[in-house]
């Protein structure tokens, strides 16, 4: 591996030509840098070399020795030949011997990793019979839903083992046995489902022979005859670029795109194995109209006419604001832009929002107030170089797996990791330098408490505060009340630990804070975010490489949906609707009168529907009947509507309430751009034709709008991309043409020739000076009491996403985790006489569910955790819809519940 600090160069001669390389480079590295091909099997660029397969042998001209170029260091003046008759013979012999124990070879020659062995056999003209010998007779590994290991095709190169260990840190498999009988297997003859495997498929992607292959690919016929399209994953906000392999109109496989900017060659289980839902027969394929409580199929014309007629009727009778729209964080930028344009220009209301309201509304509200921009300040690739990382309210390794790996890299590089979370999540157990467990909802107290310690001990960055911020004194005064004793009382965090953590973070050179829903989903979520901003500014930990405040966005395009104005108070690019110049600008651009008043937010829409003030709703790709708090009320709200149109790819829990359902194309059947959590706008192409009669969302919106008298005539998604660039200052340089590559562009991109922005607030904050906020402690709205003595907190788990409308329809993911569960502390379980798997009735002031217990010391005593994915035991039957007064985000993270064992 090249040593990054070395500046000395070595010069070597390869095949008679001179090349320079960094001191410490291997021969293979210098050859690769200069485009000289050397064959290899056991080596991958991303892995530590082992020199095991002997395919990369090269000849040292002076000594005549054959050495493995992947391990042999390049020395100054060295002369190397990478191919001659002797080398060729040696490599061929190697291949023949490797082949002698194999009964099967996957015959393919695409650029996929799985074809490497096959291609070498052809290149070296290797005959199967050369050394036909005894064959191994191991039982194949296939007792898991996702992939198969066929030992007959395995050459024991060990790439899968090392990929699992070095890239993912899982070590789920290793060599077992010795000599001829060696095989790759999980320990103790167990199934992969019983060990540390997370089914990310890194082993499958590393395999050069196809011995490891996804089951879907095997089932879908000839695994070599496939088409490849580079696209972007639609689970979580990392924005993993991946190649989708298709055949006969179906997805047959997925693998990370090696040129991916955000994820390198990594992806998680959901991205790797969770897209078979696209192929499902129960996809919506034809518009549906409800008649006498039954849905019947309808033509597009009939359905679109009915939608435009009904919406126009409501607009006529009750006014534009009687219609509300939910856009979608899963849809493209183009579709989100168009949806808000439709709501604003065609319907005439600002009543458009989407589920960002339920996740990072408080982040946007808080960080805009403090910094002037609500997005991640840094890029994913910068995380590994931070020297101190504070993670709070983010179960990073499960919710953003690839970012979790970057944090692990930072820790390996020597960074200190502080985790503050009510649950002792994996990253707290496995990687944290310090783990602090706060009482749910007490975040302002511990953060301001840390600030007080930092000020008291003189660890603050006076220069930074002086030059780059305002309102410091007010904040300092407010911090006074957060004495370590009081903080300990409020948060349950030991005061000595708090002090230690404060010092650790304050002394960072490159301190990075990562946070997510655990911070935002509170009735004081905006305060929590402002507290984090205070902490970062007081220590000068913002505005530098690897240094900043990083909200991890939860859905693939929740950043983009916000950026493009699917929010009730802003046009695209966070241009406030109540600012006259913005209103004028868009009235001119769109040639229509616009409403200057901000519209309703997600939870408010539902409340107003229940009251009869909202009569019609248009819901695109969202599922509030599972995702929103206090579902009893959501149900009433939706039932009370005069007209509901739902546009989705499946019959969701919400679609059941619709009057008209419009079948949408999935992301693989459309093209456009997504913006990931690091503000990277990534373009993707269509990989499949829309299923049945479904249509891309942007086409449907255009057709409804045109029918309602506001014509939208876009010939392609690219035309919308260009319109976005025209009207959105932060997206100015992000035109269809400029973003049509694999790297994409990170906003702000305010000029036509910009190259994107890696990290924000360099030199000065987006709002000029960073603003401190004086914060005071407020309790969560509902605390445990005699009737409801437990705290319920909700969140995600690794194998499922959101309301399971996708992962629940992915065969393998559903097989692995088919049902809901509730994490309960061993002590509480004992007191309630509950075992893992027992059914427990969980009730709150708003509803009750029955759910299986899972005893776990992840949760503290008197707190239970329920993943919100499962409709049949929906955590949101129980949650509290009380809102943060500024961001209008509901308090999904803290509600009081009672537990009873069932039966």
């Amino acid at each position: 591996m090249p040593n990054p600090t070395a500046t000395e160069l070595v010069e070597i001669e390869i095949n008679g030509e001179k090349f320079a390389g960094e001191q410490g480079s291997t021969i293979l590295e210098i050859a690769r840098e200069n485009g000289i091909e050397i064959p290899k099997l056991c080596h991958m660029d991303q892995l530590e070399p082992t020199g095991a397969c002997r395919m990369c042998l090269v000849e040292l001209v002076d000594s005549g020795k054959l050495v493995t170029s992947c391990t042999h260091p390049a020395e100054d003046g060295m002369k190397v030949e990478t191919d001659n008759e002797r080398i060729h013979r040696s490599r061929k012999l190697n291949l023949e011997l490797l082949l002698s124990n194999n009964t099967e070879v996957v015959d393919c020659d695409s650029d996929e990793t799985r074809c490497e062995f096959s291609k070498l056999l052809k290149q070296y003209d290797v005959e199967v019979e050369s050394y036909a010998g005894e064959k191994r007779n191991h039982e194949n590994i296939e007792d898991n839903p996702f992939f198969k290991l066929d030992h007959d095709k395995c050459i024991l190169c060990g790439r899968c083992v090392r990929a699992c260990e070095e890239i993912r840190g899982r070590s789920a498999i290793d060599f077992v046995g010795r000599g001829f009988d060696t095989k790759i297997a999980p320990p103790l003859d167990r199934s992969l489902t019983e060990g540390t495997c997370q089914f990310c498929g890194q082993c499958v992607d590393a395999c050069p022979t196809g011995a490891l292959t996804s089951k879907m690919r095997i089932e879908k016929g000839d695994p070599t005859q496939v088409e490849k399209t580079s696209t972007v994953c639609t689970y979580c906000g990392v924005g993993c670029r991946m190649n989708v392999y298709t055949k006969d109109g179906e997805v047959v496989d997925v693998a990370p795109d090696p040129e991916a900017p955000a994820n390198d060659i990594r992806i998680c289980s959901k991205g790797r194995f969770g897209f078979d839902f696209v192929n499902r027969d129960d996809r919506l394929k034809q518009p549906l109209i409800k008649e006498k409580d039954e849905f019947r199929e309808a033509s597009w014309d009939e359905a679109l006419d009915l939608v435009s007629e009904k919406l126009s009727e409501i607009k006529e009778n009750h006014g534009s604001n009687a219609i509300a729209g939910l856009s979608s964080a899963t849809c493209t930028n183009e579709e989100n832009y168009l949806f808000q344009k439709f709501m604003r220009a065609t319907v005439g209301t600002n009543g458009v929002d989407h589920c960002a309201r339920l996740c990072h509304a408080s982040t946007v509200a808080g960080l805009v107030r403090a910094f002037g921009s609500g997005a991640m300040t840094n890029s994913i690739g910068e995380i590994k170089d931070a020297d101190t990382i504070l993670i709070t309210g983010s179960n990073t390794t499960e919710s953003h797996p690839v970012i979790g790996l970057e944090v692990k890299k930072a820790v390996e590089n020597g960074a200190d990791l502080i985790v503050v979370d009510p649950r002792e999540i994996d990253i707290a157990k496995e990687d944290a330098t310090m783990y602090l467990r706060q009482n749910s909802g007490s975040d302002v107290a511990w953060i301001m408490g840390m600030i007080r310690v930092i000020l008291e001990e003189g660890l603050w960055d006076e220069k930074f505060v002086e030059a780059r911020t305002e309102n410091f004194e007010e904040m300092r005064e407010a911090a006074e009340e957060f004495t370590p004793d009081r903080v300990e009382e409020l948060t349950g965090i030991d005061k000595k630990k708090l002090r230690k953590a404060a010092r650790l973070y304050a002394n960072a050179d490159r301190g990075s804070i990562l946070f997510a829903m655990g911070i935002t989903q509170h009735s004081h979520g905006t305060d929590n975010v402002l507290a984090i901003a205070n902490l970062a500014m007081v220590t000068g930990n913002v505005g530098k490489e690897s240094t900043g405040v990083n909200p991890l966005r939860g859905q693939n395009n929740v950043q983009g949906a916000c950026d493009l104005g699917a929010l009730p108070n802003v046009y695209s690019g966070y241009q406030n609707v109540d600012l006259e110049e913005n209103q004028k600008k868009f009235e001119d651009l769109w040639d229509v009168d616009l409403d200057p008043n901000p519209g309703l937010t997600v939870v408010e829409m539902i409340r107003e529907a229940e009251k009869g003030n909202v009569n019609g709703m248009y819901i695109m790709g969202e599922n509030p009947m599972v995702s929103d708090p206090d579902l009893g009320h959501v149900e009433k709200g939706l039932e009370n509507l005069d007209f509901l149109v739902v546009q989705d790819i499946f019959m969701t829990e919400t679609a059941e309430y619709a009057d008209v359902i419009l079948p949408a194309a999935s992301f693989l059947e459309t093209s456009g751009t997504f913006t990931n959590t690091e503000r990277r706008v990534q373009h993707f192409d269509r990989a499949l034709e829309p299923k049945g009669n479904s249509r891309p969302d942007w086409e449907i919106i255009s057709q409804v709008s045109t029918r309602m008298g506001y014509p939208m005539k876009y010939g392609s998604a690219d035309e919308i991309t260009d319109e976005i660039a025209d009207v959105t200052p932060i997206y100015t340089g992000i035109t269809a043409e400029r973003v049509a590559n694999k790297q994409g562009l990170q906003w702000p991109c305010v000029t036509g020739d910009c190259t994107g922005t890696k990290y924000l607030h360099k030199g000065q904050f987006s709002r000029g000076l960073g603003k401190f906020h004086a914060l005071h402690y407020r309790e969560p709205a509902e605390l445990p009491d005699g009737d409801y003595p437990f705290t319920l907190t909700t969140g995600r788990m690794y194998y499922h996403f959101h309301t399971r409308s996708m992962t629940g329809r992915s065969q393998g993911l559903d097989e692995l985790v088919p049902e809901a569960y509730m994490e309960i502390n061993p002590a509480d379980a004992e007191a309630l006489e509950v075992d893992s798997g027992d059914l427990v009735r969980v009730s709150s002031r708003r509803g009750e569910i029955e759910i299986k217990a899972k005893i776990s010391d992840r949760v503290p005593s008197e707190t239970v955790f329920i993943p919100f994915h499962f409709a049949e035991a929906a955590a949101n039957r129980l949650t509290n819809s009380v809102l943060d007064p500024i961001a209008k985000i509901p308090e999904l993270k803290v509600s009081a519940v009672n537990l009873e064992k069932v039966g």
Binding site: R170, F175, V176, G177, R178, P186, P187, L188, T196, D835
Partner: protein
């Protein structure tokens, strides 16, 4: 979380005692395997898991090491392990006859344990005692210049 029952806890305490002098690092894996095997006669699954935990080494790596070295057994072994040398010298001097004689006497297939749990019979490549060929080894003791009858008698000594 798996339920921790009494027996498991006891076993864990036993392992903890066995390993108490070893540093809790990856370097301890092989000595830990040796100690546990010495105490239990073989390497049971829970022992491997304990070692993985104790040395902070992935279980897959511990298992890989345990299956790589021929000194480690993953199945219970007989009270005494009989190894018959199959090296060149022993081979020429009739090691096979000794091996066959012992297999016949014990009534087991290679690698199996006798029903009374007394013996496991295996072969080894070379014990490095060629001058004494043919050689066999019972536990740590080497028996040289064997004939089939003598070898059978040696086993009888261990019967009592």
């Amino acid at each position: 979380m798996p339920e921790i029952n009494e027996e498991l806890r006891k076993m864990q305490n036993t392992y903890e005692k066995i390993l108490e002098d070893l540093p809790e690092t990856r370097e301890s894996v092989i000595p830990a395997l040796q100690l546990v095997q010495k105490s239990r006669g073989y390497l049971p699954g829970d022992g491997l898991e304990f070692i993985a935990d104790y040395t902070d080494t992935p279980l897959a790596n511990v298992y890989s090491i345990a299956t790589f070295y021929s000194q480690f057994y993953l199945e219970p072994q007989g009270e005494h392990t009989v190894k018959v040398c199959q090296g060149t010298a022993c081979h020429i001097k009739g090691a096979n006859e000794i091996y066959e004689a012992l297999l016949g006497k014990l009534g087991i297939a290679p690698g199996e344990v006798t029903p009374d749990g007394k013996f496991t019979l295996t072969t080894v490549r070379c014990l490095g005692a060629c001058s004494l060929a043919p050689v066999m080894m019972v536990d740590d003791k080497v028996y040289g210049n064997q004939t089939p009858d003598e070898a059978r008698d040696v086993l009888d000594e261990y019967r009592d």
